[in-house]
Symmetry: C2
Subunit: 417 residues, 2 copies
């Protein structure tokens, strides 16, 4: 079926669902009735198995087995166990990924490690329009170090030009959180290496959304979160990747006891564990960690090529529907029209985007709003159907055509995460 020429009819969309090789995955998620959830790029939906797993951790592992679960339930090894499950999803090898801590903390760790590997260089290249926590963490690190590092901000088309012999590391998010624009991981990493710099990739908006090939791109470090496309639960643990070739030398400064070479010797002085384990910090939130594994287990059965194929079909069709049905209502497209440059989301712009998004949410289509004017719609191929796309666009049309969105109830401001 050619997506670009598909007839824009409900029947055609229903037929795509009927033929969808991923359709069975939708039944694995606990989606509420009457909701079209297009915000899995912010908080992934709950796998149905997550409830049973949470119950098991609380009732059996914690309440019944108590302290011995550190051994019998493998709590201490969760970062490695989950990391090895995530590795194939992001093009990493076994022993290169830890699921641990939060994204910003992992940025701090791998950026500190990268700077220490390039002690004579003082520049970090970052994208100023990126989701800010990476930039904030880098700023905190630079100020704390007090060694004259500076952050050179560049936007997507200027990144290559910003990489020169002064650059210690580029630290970039693979897919932009607002627009969904994909940066060229392979090309930028190669350019960084050519200049003698290291490449750090934040996969928050690409891990689980599309094939990612960290080792194919020769990435040096990476970070990301589990709670978006990987469906790991609210605030679920983040992850980090350290390429095997750096694991002998790379060090990080958050030297908690889980990163010690002999944590149960309880010795006075820190000595880093060999390899990746030194990127562990301390005791992890086991309940959140254990539930995140449920999301990762689903990906062990999912074909990332099929996910990407469906993702592009969903986003392309949504753009076509908005163009055709809502073309007169003042929307712009902030996401790339070129499918190859687009992640798994569509960002529309509208001068009064906030009340429009609130009206959509009130009518069961859940996206989110990012100031000043972006309506974000995330498409998660494991549980977003083609009919969801059809119905979301229809709802948007009705809200715009009826002036429903102008009702005062939709203009009150509240926090959006």
């Amino acid at each position: 079926m050619q997506i670009d020429t598909l007839p824009l009819t409900a029947e055609a969309f229903a037929a795509l669902d009927a033929d969808d090789p991923l359709r069975a995955f939708r039944d694995e998620f606990a989606l509420p009735e009457g909701v079209i959830y297009l915000d899995g790029n912010s908080l992934g939906a709950a796998p149905k198995a997550a409830l049973a797993r949470a119950q098991e951790v609380v009732s059996r592992e914690w309440a019944t087995d108590l302290i011995k679960s550190w051994n019998t339930a493998g709590w201490f090894e969760l970062p490695e166990r989950l990391g090895d499950k995530l590795a194939p999803v992001i093009g990493a090898g076994a022993g290169e990924v830890l699921v641990t801590d939060a994204t910003g903390l992992n940025v701090f760790k791998v950026l500190a490690a990268a700077l220490a590997l390039r002690p004579d260089r003082k520049v970090i290249v970052m994208e100023g329009s990126n989701f800010p926590t990476d930039n904030y963490m880098a700023q905190g690190l630079v100020e704390f170090l007090g060694q004259g590092h500076q952050i050179r901000f560049a936007e997507k088309d200027d990144i290559l030009a910003a990489i020169d012999q002064d650059v210690a590391a580029v630290c970039l998010t693979h897919v932009h959180y607002k627009t969904g624009h994909i940066l060229d991981m392979q090309g930028i990493t190669a350019a960084a290496h050519q200049a003698g710099a290291l490449a750090i990739w934040d996969l928050c908006h690409s891990a689980g959304a599309m094939p990612v090939d960290l080792n194919g791109a020769r990435a040096d470090f990476a970070v990301g979160c589990s709670y978006k496309y990987l469906n790991g639960g609210p605030g679920g643990p983040a992850f980090l990747f350290v390429a095997r070739r750096h694991q002998g030398e790379a060090r990080q400064p958050l030297t908690g006891w889980w990163g010690h070479k002999a944590p149960f010797a309880f010795s006075r002085d820190y000595a880093p564990a060999p390899g990746l384990a030194r990127f562990r910090t301390g005791t992890q939130p086991i309940l959140s960690m254990a539930v995140a594994e449920v999301g990762l287990d689903i990906f062990a059965r999912a074909d990332m090529a099929l996910i990407r194929q469906k993702s592009l079909a969903l986003t392309s069709l949504f753009i076509r529907l908005v163009d055709e049905r809502c073309g007169s209502f003042g929307f712009g497209l902030a996401s790339p029209r070129d499918a190859d440059a687009r992640g798994s989301q569509v960002a529309l712009t509208h001068a009064t985007g906030y009340p429009i998004m609130k009206a959509l949410i009130a009518h069961g289509v859940i996206g989110d709003f990012r100031a000043p004017d972006i309506l974000r719609f995330g498409f998660t191929p494991l549980y977003t159907s083609y009919m969801d796309v059809w119905n979301a666009a229809e709802t948007l049309y009705r809200i715009m055509a009826s002036d429903e969105w102008k009702k005062p109830v939709y203009s009150a401001v509240d926090a959006v995460t």
Copy 2:
């Protein structure tokens, strides 16, 4: 009832239980049948309400309400909400405590803040025999900063002498993880201030175990975990305290977006939130956070003076029973015999402690072992009964008197946390 002269009979212990003003709390915990759990100083028991809370977070807040739970379920404010619930338990005021991150990370934050407040001083006083993650984190921080800071290790009786005009901060654990020895928070803090230094207290083994009065002692910063006496769940979030008088000036380097003054403006450059909120880092593991609140809610109804009174009775009686029943088996007492200097645990020493502890565990008495020779028994007044103490000592006696502990099955080594 005089504990020191109580007849050592099962009847007398049962009578203490019958009169125990805290006895109703035991029903709030899901303790397994046939187990005497004396390891709540490592992993607190599960409140029965934790299961329902975990189910609610997964099924309603995550699966049903999805992204809007950031607002409707107050996820973003959990660190403050839980912090304010914990504050009275540790002698802090509202707005002085955050429940967030892990203990070691919080050590990193408050120690960095303390060093920045004393830029002309280069010494940190710590206890070398402390649970090592605080020391490791301080070592990582010092090495990373590269400004010539040094850690001056001192043991309990030498701490005051180690505090001089070079000291930027003392960073000590209130109750020793192995011995249960209580450091004099008031006196050491006063000595630190007298020398111009700041005092950081780790409350991992005292929060929830005894009255703690951070503000009464004029402590500057504090950290601790929720998963021991506070029953917050395995690896549950830690906490930190910043005295109000420092909140205007203190800064920390893990500058994630949750510590920004306007996190939802998504601006490029970091600007610290006013006050305590700048000690937030990034997105928190919501499921673990929410379940930790259940443990804190119990403490809102618990009288810390009664907890301390019962704690001392439990530990004193256990010591008396071991003295009387097991005096010939080669045990020593690593914990203070003086009740005022003792936290809520009893540490026995024995040359072959490891197989003895394994035999105890096999017979349903769960303590833990710390190399090279310490058997630790934690007493948690909310759910430890006087008969538990009686039965634990009886079990120890039977294991020693029968040479049960010499069976080969108990000598195999496995990891203990």
